[in-house]
Amino acid sequence: MKNYDVVVIGAGSVGVPLSYRLAVRGLSVLVVEKLASIGQGQNKAAIGGIRATHSDRAKIKVGNASLDVIRRLLPEYGQDVDYIEGGYLFPAYSEEIARGLKQLLPLQKSFGLNIDWIDADEVRERCPGILAEGLLGGTFSPEDGHLSSLKLSGAFHRLAMQAGVDFIFNTEVVGFEVDKGKVRAVLTDQGKVSCSCVVNAAGGYGRDVSLMVGSDLPVYPDSHEAGVTEPVKRFFLPMLVDIAPDEQSDNYYFYQNAEGQIVFCITPRPKRMGTDRRSTSEFLPMVIPRMLHLYPRLRNIKVRRVWRGLYPMTPDGKPIVGFDRDVEGFFHAIGMCGQGLMLGPGLADIIALAIAEGKEDEEVFADLSPYRDFSGEELLK
């Protein structure tokens, strides 16, 4: 195989847009993927929410960068990814939840986020039929949205191919050739690829890949199950996030996609650690009653398909982004905590700039450093 400037490991939410940005910056790029095509790992498992509404500055910045790219995909690049700017809506049915959401607002606004408290009537107007009883209102961020994860990776794949990126599939990375502290080649089960830079964008398997250069980074996947319904005529636009926990689960969220289907997901408690992606019997009885309590009219919609995807978690809920300090030319872009889809497009240019021109965005690279103190906790999960 030929020599590349950069080899990206993983053709997923992070790797595919990144490969495109690197190629646009004039680098020769190869993407190596273990599975048979793009987006077949966690990318296609992502339900499609895209937001900048986080609670820390790096993720907000990256999230905004993502939204900026996504908004331009159709008008400037001719790529339709079913993006709908429907906003994120966090309804509150208890004083405690309302208080918690309201407390975040000053911080979120300080980062320039367009988010505010809306009253119960406005929540009901935006989501006709949502449970009225006990509804106190909620926070709403109109500039967030949702899209098709399949179409997003497909769009960047086409752009990357047009920009000259090479892809190889069904190829597993087994190690690296490191000489005098510098990465020289990627070793795969299909042979060796020489390169001067490697980006680990291996998602759920990111820790395993970093371990191959002796870097033990705290990325441990847990898994969430998700589902999609039949399509119906549009009746609401926002991503609805109910953060009130019940006995078996924490938050759950759902939205109506461009096809008219409801896409939904839940965070089970306790967390299900590991990389098992087989569907379980627990998911539907866990999530459906909660959805029907919040939105009774969903009772008549039919569930079409279920699946399970990995959330490659870090201890503080923030991604790990940055060069390895011991192996020159090895870049970590892992631990997306289930947000690779919404962070990937924004991270792509930030990382490409660092690799191609050595320019690191200070805030992002400081906050997401592989060598940061991981003891902090995310406020808005």
């Binding site: 095509s37 497909g154 087989r278 379980t280 019997s281 459906i288 029907l292 009219r297 969903l298 039919k302």
Partner: protein, 690 residues
């Protein structure tokens, strides 16, 4: 348009109810499927697709696809599995449905948790026989089926069975075998039967999720072992117009015609000359439906010769080396064009013939529905598959195979049982493909009756040898199995039992008349008729050649076999060659004077749910580097209600046409749920019917 008289099926009167369709008041039978009630009222368009406003009609009639979705009382439901009730408000589904503002809060309930040692999915011939076997060994069994009765596809099979009488009820009609098996299963206390219950997922934690549509319930079943007896799906075919209402599977046709006694069509063309297509033609004729012909791209009939012979005798032509160029019509099937193919299977347009038909039946084979087997393997459970889910074969072999798999499962779960070696041998023979064809000629003896056995191809079948009261019919012992061909030697009293029992209608009785130059010929007849003595009929040779005229002398109807024996007076020289009489008039099979030569294969629909065409897939492949079928989901292929049940079987061929190397094609991922389930059922909010 109902079948009011049927030669082998009882026509049940049923209670009439009135319902409305798009505001028009119509009448149907209470409890019949809404789709059948609509067909009976001449309605064949059920919905309008969002893509291209294309009209959609019934396709599988088996609850598997969602082509038959209509709006009933405000909600989209599959009409083929929804029983008709008085006062139903049925409407055409136009684009996506609107979710009703049904905003009252109701309480949800967790699924009921059941358990068993062995869960058997599918109560067709193989599922029931494995359940019986396991129950007799003391295992607790839950037998689940998505239909409201047991027997699987046996209930659609009105013809007499092939196979051996001792092992699989050969000579008995499928409908009757279903009843026998159901009774046996219900007589065993350790078999719990769940009907109208669809397994929608086999989950990693050792549970099956089961949707009970009538009860609007969702239950879990834990199991130690899993037997997948889910049968098969009909393969589809790519041709322009393949999604028009009026193109449907042979299974759907059997369901409408044989189960629901609805005259689904006036005139059909059948694609595929395997047993399913051949039997489909026979069932059509019995239901009073014209058959313009059967076509197959193969150079030979793949089904049993006796089946092909009998329908040709009845006046249905078989076009081999032919393909379906396209189906035309304004929102429904009106015409179908066929043409002969060259060596590379391209149609020779100059050979095209266009027929006026309202229905095209697709009978191009089956593919195993074995996704739950894959789920079982993935889950690491003891799992076995049987019947068509394991290997496509006749129901006779499925019954034998089911017994074996029942015992295999007992062994997997630690039971010390043996499986008789001859069971496996029998199962092998019963699923044999038709073997060699031999020729044979008869010479009529001077006195007395003699059976003329026009059975020339080795097939697994022996009922004629077991019914003869004088034990005068024996297999010729060429292979020493029931594949061998029957031969007569010995005494014949002319009782006609061999004529009545032969599933191929391939046996006649003949004797010389007292009058010089004439003979008496007894032929089987499974049609309604009013032949008075003296009626002239056209005599047909074994493969359908017209031989001349015969005169009806007498008709005896055998109630048990639901078959008539027609005694004919025929010229002596035809007594050994005439095998049956013409049933369908010859003008039926004439093509139209004007032939439609257009050939636009890229317009064929691959994914019916999302209406993705061959042309669109080819374009997608050109724009994206595609080898993984999962990538095609971007075009929405396989993203619809059915989950790729039909299209995923067709896609590899399209990819190859688009230049993708077959060896590089990566298959699509399957995910639960098998069928769509309303959230109210998943949450057990109640409201189902008792």
């Amino acid at each position: 348009m109902r079948i009011t008289k049927h030669p082998v099926l009882d026509v049940q009167e049923g209670k009439q109810v009135s319902f409305s369709f798009d505001g028009r008041t119509l009448v149907g039978k209470e409890g019949e499927m809404v789709s059948s009630a609509l067909f009976a009222n001449g309605i064949r368009t059920f919905s309008i697709h969002t893509v291209g406003d294309a009209p959609q009609g019934l396709f599988c009639a088996n609850g598997q696809c969602a082509q038959c979705t209509v709006i009933i009382d405000g909600l989209p439901v599959k009409s083929c599995i929804t029983p008709l009730r008085e006062g139903m408000d049925v409407r055409t589904l136009v684009h996506h449905p609107e979710l009703p503002a049904d905003d009252a809060l109701r309480s949800s309930h967790p699924p009921e948790e059941l358990s068993c040692q062995v869960l058997i999915v599918g109560a067709g011939p193989s599922g029931i026989t494995s359940a019986i076997e396991l129950a007799d060994l003391g295992f607790s069994v839950i037998l689940v089926d998505d239909k409201d009765h047991l027997g699987g596809k046996l209930v659609l099979q009105t013809h007499k069975f092939f196979g051996s009488m001792a092992d699989c009820y050969a000579g008995t009609r499928g409908t009757e075998i279903a009843t026998i098996l159901e009774t046996e299963a219900r007589n065993r206390e350790n078999i719990t039967i769940m009907t109208s219950s669809t397994v929608v997922g086999i989950y990693a934690d050792g549970k099956a999720g089961i949707y009970q549509d009538r009860l609007e319930k969702y239950v879990h079943v834990s199991f130690e072992g899993l037997i997948v007896a889910t049968g098969a799906r009909e393969r589809s075919l790519l041709f322009p117009g393949n999604d028009l209402p009026g193109v449907f599977g042979a299974g759907a046709f059997q369901t409408l015609v044989n189960r629901d006694l609805v005259k689904s069509s006036e005139r059909v063309l059948i694609v595929g000359c395997g047993n399913v297509g051949l039997i489909g033609a026979y069932h059509a004729l019995q239901a009073g439906i014209d058959v313009v012909g059967l076509i197959d791209i193969a150079p030979a009939v793949t089904g049993y010769k006796v089946h092909a012979d009998k329908i040709q005798r009845m006046g249905v032509p078989i076009y081999l080396n032919h393909t379906l160029v396209g189906v035309q019509g304004d929102g429904k099937v009106e015409k179908a064009t066929i043409a002969q193919v060259d060596e590379s299977w391209n149609p020779l347009v100059e050979t095209a013939k266009t027929f006026a038909v309202d229905t095209v039946l697709i009978a191009v084979g089956l593919s195993s529905a074995d996704e739950f087997y894959a789920s079982g393997i993935e889950g690491g459970f003891p799992v076995l598959k049987t019947g068509d889910a394991n290997e496509i074969a006749e129901a006779s072999s499925a019954m034998m195979g089911g017994r074996i798999i029942g015992r295999e499962m007992a062994k997997l779960l630690g039971s010390d049982v043996t499986i008789p070696a001859e069971w496996a041998e029998k199962a092998e023979i019963l699923k044999s493909h038709p073997g060699e064809v031999f020729s044979r000629s008869y010479k009529l003896q001077e006195k007395g009756w003699e059976p003329m056995i026009h059975c020339y191809q080795e097939i697994p079948c022996n009922p004629c040898t077991t019914v003869c009261p004088h034990d005068s019919i024996h297999l010729n012992d060429r292979t020493g199995t029931i594949m061998d061909i029957p031969e007569f030697s010995g005494k014949c009293v002319g009782c006609g039992l061999c004529v009545l029992i032969c599933p191929g209608l391939a046996i006649t009785l003949a004797r010389k008349s007292k009058e010089e130059g004439l003979a008496e010929l007894v032929v089987p007849h499974e049609f309604d008729h009013d032949y008075e003595p003296g009626t002239k009929v056209r005599l047909r040779g074994v493969e359908g050649a017209d031989l001349g005229e015969g005169t009806v002398k007498a008709v005896r109807h055998n109630k048990k076999h639901r078959t008539s024996l027609i005694t004919l007076e025929v010229p002596l020289e035809l007594a050994t060659s005439a095998v049956g009489i013409l049933v369908q008039q010859e003008e039926v099979i004439q093509p139209l004077k004007e032939t439609d030569f257009s050939y636009m294969p890229d317009n064929a629909v691959v994914c019916r749910c999302e209406r993705v065409t061959v042309g669109e897939i080819k374009e997608f492949v050109r724009e994206n580097d595609v080898t993984d079928i999962n990538q095609l989901k971007l075009s929405r292929l396989a993203m619809g209600a059915c989950g790729g049940k039909t299209c995923l079987d067709l896609v590899p061929r399209v990819l190859m046409q688009a230049g993708v190397d077959r060896g590089n094609i990566h298959p699509a991922t399957h995910r639960p749920l098998t069928v769509e389930v309303p959230m109210k059922a998943l949450a057990n909010q109640g409201g189902g019917q008792k």
